[in-house]
């Protein structure tokens, strides 16, 4: 098992980073009338970990006995019926899914699943009906239609079905949904907190960690705990005993983007643009999300540029990312950004050096 899974805290009391949030959540579910929850925060900050620990708090260890299912929903979309496939994780008391994976059909999934859950409520020995929890991941990827269709459902079935929503970008969740939940912000752990977790894992694994080593990993992790733990494990595989000079391996794709940035800075020409296109394709084929590519490229370029150009470049990055969101083919917009950058940079070089 990977360390990220092996050392994921299981209960709210074991949570090391967001202790306060964890204690608060414990109080929140002490009575059965807890509102719907929306967890939001950057990647790898510990949202999922908290949600799982919360479920355990509510339902005991039964919440950990999950089965993974590939389910097919038959939905009646007006004139024809369509099949939608989706993976769900479920226990006796909860169901978890990522409806965004269903693409345009996500609306039908959220409609169906909640109604279905309301029908199959757990019943205790005295015949009293309880409620189930529905965990929806990546709600920021839900279409507007799917979000709209959640609104009334969240109210109507609130006695039978409590929702826990989870996302990175809460700006993408409609006001109406946010108004129906208690919003729980999960910030990225600080570097010190990350060091603490790494040292904890090191101790459990019986490792000797040289001074400053964990801090260097934390610094490179961009405050992403998952990434820090993964890097830590990679270091362990690459070389142990650790040495204080041991290099912290960067992500391959990050190195690759750093190369692209150098390519662009060195030459601004149609020929170079063509070469860069090939490299961008390579990244996309390897499933690096296009907005991550664009942001990383911007990061690399900003490091190399004069102050006066930084404004222009960050503006165009924002501009093309937005267009990418509205468009369909990411490569067009990535390439457009590179071309724009080349033209600005060349004009700058000519104006400055003639």
């Amino acid at each position: 098992m990977l360390w990220v899974d092996k050392y994921r805290p299981k209960t709210l009391d074991q949570i090391m980073v967001h202790e306060e949030v964890a204690q608060n959540l414990k109080k929140l579910v002490s009575e059965q009338d807890c509102p719907h929850l929306l967890f939001y925060g950057p990647p790898g900050s510990g949202k999922k970990t908290l949600i799982m620990a919360l479920l355990r708090q509510m339902f005991g260890t039964g919440a950990e006995k999950v089965k993974v299912e590939n389910r097919t929903w038959k939905v009646d979309a007006g004139s024809r019926s369509i099949d939608i496939e989706l993976t769900t994780l479920s226990s006796a008391n909860h169901i978890e899914l990522s409806p965004g994976d269903a693409g345009f059909q996500d609306r039908y999934i959220v409609q169906e699943i909640i109604k279905e859950m309301a029908k199959n409520r757990p019943i205790d020995t005295k015949g009293k009906k309880g409620f189930k929890v529905l965990v929806l991941n990546e709600v920021d990827k839900l279409s507007k239609e799917a979000q709209h269709s959640l609104r009334r459902t969240m109210e109507k079935y609130s006695a039978y079905c409590r929702l826990i929503l989870c996302c990175n970008s809460s700006s993408r969740v409609t006001e109406a949904i946010r108004s129906r939940c208690l919003n729980v912000r999960i910030n990225a752990p600080s570097e010190e907190q990350i060091v603490k977790v790494l040292e904890f894992i090191g101790k459990k694994e019986g490792l000797q960690i040289p001074a400053g080593f964990a801090a260097r990993i934390a610094e490179k992790s961009n405050r992403n705990l998952r990434r820090a733990i993964l890097t830590f494990e990679t270091c362990r595989v690459q070389q142990y005993p650790f040495t204080s000079k041991q290099t912290i391996p960067p992500m391959d794709w990050e190195e690759y983007i750093s190369e692209i940035a150098s390519d662009i800075m060195k030459e601004q020409s149609p020929k170079r643009l063509f070469q860069v296109r090939g490299k961008l394709y390579e990244l996309l084929i390897n499933c690096i999300p296009p907005e991550i590519i664009l942001k990383r490229l911007l990061y690399e370029l900003l490091r190399k540029l004069d102050a006066e150009l930084k404004h222009d470049v960050c503006h165009w990055a924002a501009y093309y990312e937005h267009r990418m969101r509205l468009g369909q083919k990411a490569i067009f917009h990535l390439e457009a950004f590179v071309a724009k950058f080349m033209s600005i940079y060349k004009a700058f070089l000519i104006a400055t050096f003639g």
Binding site: I114, K115, S170, S179, I344
Partner: protein, 342 residues
């Protein structure tokens, strides 16, 4: 066997008014509907306005008061955005429901029971235009025996021919006084203590959305016990602390791009919503005395643009960085145009 949790409703549902007269702040519609209760006559209705102002509450309350629990199921059809409301559904489901006769209007176990059925189309703004068009005919065909209640946040998304057939009511954001009195009522019922500062804070951070106020109140009550301070409420509300907004503004004033970039990075890592920052930044800038009108205009223009882009799903970091860069250029009197356009 796993323990079964008893279900009970969150406070927003618990304190949903059951009677039209208990709906706060929406006097006009309450007046019209009170009249309906007496005379039984009712036009088609269109309720619109921001979230948490009582639209759904009002529609459900009048339906219950007109027909009572026994007849409710056979007389009221509630369709919301979670139901399929494609053209076919409009054509069949509504027709089937509307077509069954209701008999003459006779009071039934104390309820007025007027001789028509009510069809509530909640969240009607998410219906397609085609489906709305299909409704026009249905409305006319069955106008004698049905009343439609359309509910939406944005009236502009309802096609004109439908809107013009209805009596329109705008649900206003709740005023701070009304909010406060409703909050105090719930506090009394739940045995909570809020001082006047906390009450004022809760009214103002909820921005006229009573549902939000109630959710904050319940959360704070669970987290901090029965005595709740203004600070407790702010911490559950997700409002960005003023220092954070000021820090970004100060970085912009410094004219140092890297500093602003660092602030934006931090802000995103802290997990605050960028859209919220835009509104709080706007407030801070509009109120500032040391910023000229022209600078304010430049920045506001950008804020509006970024807000739209965020709604389109654009990346929060990139948009906020662009806003910070634009704010910096405005505050440091750098030209609005970029120098190396080609």
């Amino acid at each position: 066997m796993a323990p079964v949790l008893q279900s009970s409703q969150p406070w927003v549902e618990k304190y949903r008014p059951k009677q039209v007269k208990d709906v706060a702040h929406q006097d006009e519609v309450v007046r019209v509907l009170t009249n309906t209760l007496e005379t039984g006559s009712c036009p088609h209705m269109l309720f619109y306005g921001p979230p948490g102002t009582g639209k759904t509450t009002t529609a459900l309350a009048i339906a219950h008061q007109l027909f009572g629990p026994e007849l409710y199921k056979s007389r009221v059809l509630e369709l919301n955005a979670s139901d399929d409301r494609g053209i076919n559904v409009v054509r069949t489901k509504i027709k089937d429901f509307a077509a069954v006769a209701v008999g003459s209007g006779q009071r039934h176990s104390g309820y007025p029971c007027p001789p028509y059925k009510i069809i509530v189309l909640d969240e009607a703004d998410s219906m397609t235009e085609d489906a709305q068009n299909a409704l026009r005919r249905t409305m006319e065909t069955y106008s004698k025996v049905t009343r439609f209640f359309f509910i939406c946040n944005y009236i502009s998304r309802i096609i004109e021919p439908l809107a013009s057939r209805c009596a329109k009511f705008r649900f206003k954001p709740l005023s701070e006084e009304i909010m406060s009195s409703r909050i105090l009522y719930i506090c009394k019922e739940e045995g909570l203590h809020l001082d006047s500062e906390a009450t004022a804070t809760l009214s103002s951070i909820s921005q006229g959305d009573l549902r939000r106020a109630i959710t904050y109140l319940q959360s704070a009550a669970r987290l901090f016990g029965s005595s709740i301070s203004s600070k407790d409420l702010i911490s559950v509300s997700g409002v960005i602390p003023a220092e954070v907004v000021q820090a970004l503004l100060a970085a912009c004033k410094s004219g140092n791009f890297d500093l602003a970039n660092k602030e934006v990075n931090n802000f995103i890592a802290e997990g605050y919503p960028a859209s919220q920052m835009l509104s709080q930044l706007l407030e801070a800038i509009v109120e500032a005395d040391d910023i000229s009108d022209e600078q304010k205009a430049r920045i506001s223009k950008k804020l509006g643009e970024a807000d739209k882009f965020l709604v389109d799903g654009a990346d929060e970091y990139l948009q906020l960085l662009d806003v910070a860069s634009c704010t910096m250029r405005a505050l440091c009197n750098m030209p609005e145009e970029f120098s190396y356009e080609s």
